[in-house]
């Protein structure tokens, strides 16, 4: 069963076709990168898969289930998690509270209002363990808005992992990171459990080639090439697109 299958997906904004007739299937445990210039439709594709915006046409299947009309919070319960291109955290809460909220989301505790959170040892324990594992423990009491940008990006990924997702969408995890931080983030993604299928959007081609098993290239809302990193490197048409659009190297 494919973790994610997209069939003939399109999304229009007024007269603009942000994504047009996109079909895509991921194998279990696969690392897939989507590359393309700004405006190629990568983030729109994520937003439609995630359920933030409905498609104009086409279908989406998660783990064999048709989720095209399913609200996004229910897609999360199927094992879908995502990060955002523009850092999307709980800025006014401490790091540990961010983790607690992420961890409890898919537990039976999440709607309990008659019992204090302090009683849920397993939620607190898992939040602490995740911070420990990804080397964020030293920041546990920091308010998120006071963290460095690099640490915020790291927290962005770790929060998406909190619910034990089976399919992880990463929207430009390296955007705006320094060389050292990019290295750290690449490591985090490379060290992810192979049981997690990963779909990532990446502008940093070196990082994308390093992480991905397969690469899908998009341009003007369409898929223009798909293959292994080796095959994509050879693809002449892509070089033309990048020469025209100019790729950002952060």
């Amino acid at each position: 069963m494919k973790p994610l299958e997209i069939r003939a997906l399109s999304r229009n904004f007024g007269g603009v076709r942000a994504i047009a007739d996109v079909s895509l299937a991921l194998d279990s445990g696969e690392r897939r990168a989507i590359i393309g210039t700004n405006g190629a439709g990568k983030t729109t594709l994520f937003n439609v898969v995630n359920g933030q915006i409905p498609p104009s046409s086409g279908e989406i299947f998660l783990f064999g289930e048709n989720v095209t009309r399913m609200p996004l919070h229910r897609r999360a319960t199927l094992g879908l998690a995502r990060t955002f291109q523009i850092t999307s955290l709980f800025r006014n809460l401490a790091v540990i509270d961010n983790m607690i909220i992420a961890v409890q989301a898919l537990t039976t505790a999440h709607f309990v209002f008659w019992r204090r959170l302090a009683h849920y040892r397993e939620v607190l324990g898992r939040a602490e363990a995740l911070l420990e594992k990804w080397r964020l423990t030293e920041f546990r009491h920091e308010i998120v808005r006071n963290l460095s940008y690099g640490t915020q990006r790291q927290l962005e990924i770790v929060m998406a992992l909190a619910g034990n997702p089976k399919l992880l969408l990463l929207d430009e995890p390296m955007a705006g990171l320094s060389a050292a931080e990019t290295h750290l983030a690449t490591d985090i993604i490379l060290n992810l459990d192979r049981g997690i299928t990963v779909l990532l959007i990446e502008h940093d081609l070196a990082a994308a080639f390093k992480i991905a098993d397969r690469i899908t290239a998009m341009d003007q809302g369409r898929i223009v090439a798909e293959g292994t990193p080796e095959e994509i490197r050879q693809e002449a048409s892509l070089q033309k697109i990048y020469a025209r659009g100019g790729v950002r190297h952060e």
Binding site: R91, H110, F113, R115, A118, M159
Partner: protein, 317 residues
């Protein structure tokens, strides 16, 4: 964790001091103290909505006044006992919020503020014009204070202790509520609704339940206020009352459950002191409101605490 020990301890101290002096001070002052407790519950109820969930309401008087009216009508016109009338009033406020929010949750931020204002104005005009049931502008006088079995809470002091008991129970329940997993989810919704959805939270359901809980406790406060005065009139539903409770939160820091209780205390004292000097005390409070919004939007008490800490640090270093 987001529990605020500082706030919890000051709330406990406040209750203990109030309990100790409530019976020793002149009856008028006991009445003021009772008012502080009532407004304290009211302010906490709005804080759940405004401070924790990020839904700014300018119509919270709707639930305050509605519960007061329903309890008064049940006991005066239907002859119900205190327990039944009291429960009916709170249920009416919760139900009103449940129905109203089917519509209101389509809005957010300043649009939510406007629609709550409109809702409370509808109830206000209903109270003014439906004279047969509500007594119109004259309101409904003559509601007796609670009598539970052989216990009567008719005297000022007895009623003060009654209000104190209700306050303690309400504060404890709301404290559990905001420190529960549900309460943490509300903070998340306040900060970033989209991330909450992506994490798997059904945001609408959280906002819906929070608004009902908030309305129920506003109803508790409204009834206590009605019994305190043996009277309810359309002014309990007025926008002035809604603005006052918003100001208590602004004084005491939104999103810290007990800060607004202190804000309510400050407000009652301010109102008492100012009104001995001028009939235009509401104007003065309005000016203070504007100054707070401009210079201490995180809450006057938080502002003072931070200034104090900064000064200590300077003198230490």
């Amino acid at each position: 964790m987001a529990d605020n020990r500082w706030g919890l301890w000051s709330a406990i101290a406040f209750v203990l001091i109030a309990a100790a002096i409530g019976g020793m001070i002149p009856p008028y002052d006991t009445g003021l103290l009772t008012q502080m407790l009532i407004y304290g519950i009211f302010a906490m109820s709005l804080d759940v909505l405004h401070g924790y969930t990020g839904m700014p309401s300018l119509g919270h008087a709707a639930y305050f006044g509605l519960a007061a009216y329903v309890a008064a009508i049940c006991s005066l016109k239907l002859g119900w006992g205190f327990e039944a009338a009291g429960a009916a009033g709170i249920a009416a406020s919760a139900l009103a919020a449940a129905l109203f929010h089917l519509l209101a949750l389509r809005t957010a931020h300043s649009y939510y503020l406007m629609i709550t204002l409109a809702f409370s104005q509808v109830l206000w005009s209903l109270a003014v014009s439906w004279t047969d049931v509500t007594g119109g502008d004259n309101g409904l006088p003559g509601v007796l204070r609670p009598q539970i079995g052989s216990w009567s809470f008719g005297s000022t002091i007895a009623y003060f202790y009654f209000a104190l008991a209700v306050f303690v129970v309400s504060a404890a329940m709301l404290y559990v509520f905001v420190t529960s997993p549900f309460g943490y989810a509300l903070r998340g919704i306040r900060d970033n609704e989209m991330r909450m959805r992506a994490l798997g939270y059904h945001v609408w359901a959280y906002k819906y339940l929070a608004s009902i809980v908030s309305a129920a406790f506003a109803g508790v406060a409204g009834e206590l206020y009605m019994y305190l005065n043996n009277f309810v009139s359309p002014s309990a539903l007025s926008v002035t009352v809604s603005a006052q409770v918003l100001m208590m939160i602004l004084v005491g820091a939104a999103g810290t459950l007990f800060g607004p209780v202190l804000g309510a205390g400050v407000f009652v004292i301010l109102q008492y002191v100012l009104s001995t000097y001028t009939d235009r005390w509401l104007f003065v409070i309005g000016v203070i409101y504007v100054l707070l919004a401009l210079y201490a939007p995180q809450g006057a008490l938080i502002y003072l605490r931070d200034r104090l800490k900064a000064r200590q640090r300077r003198s230490a270093g």
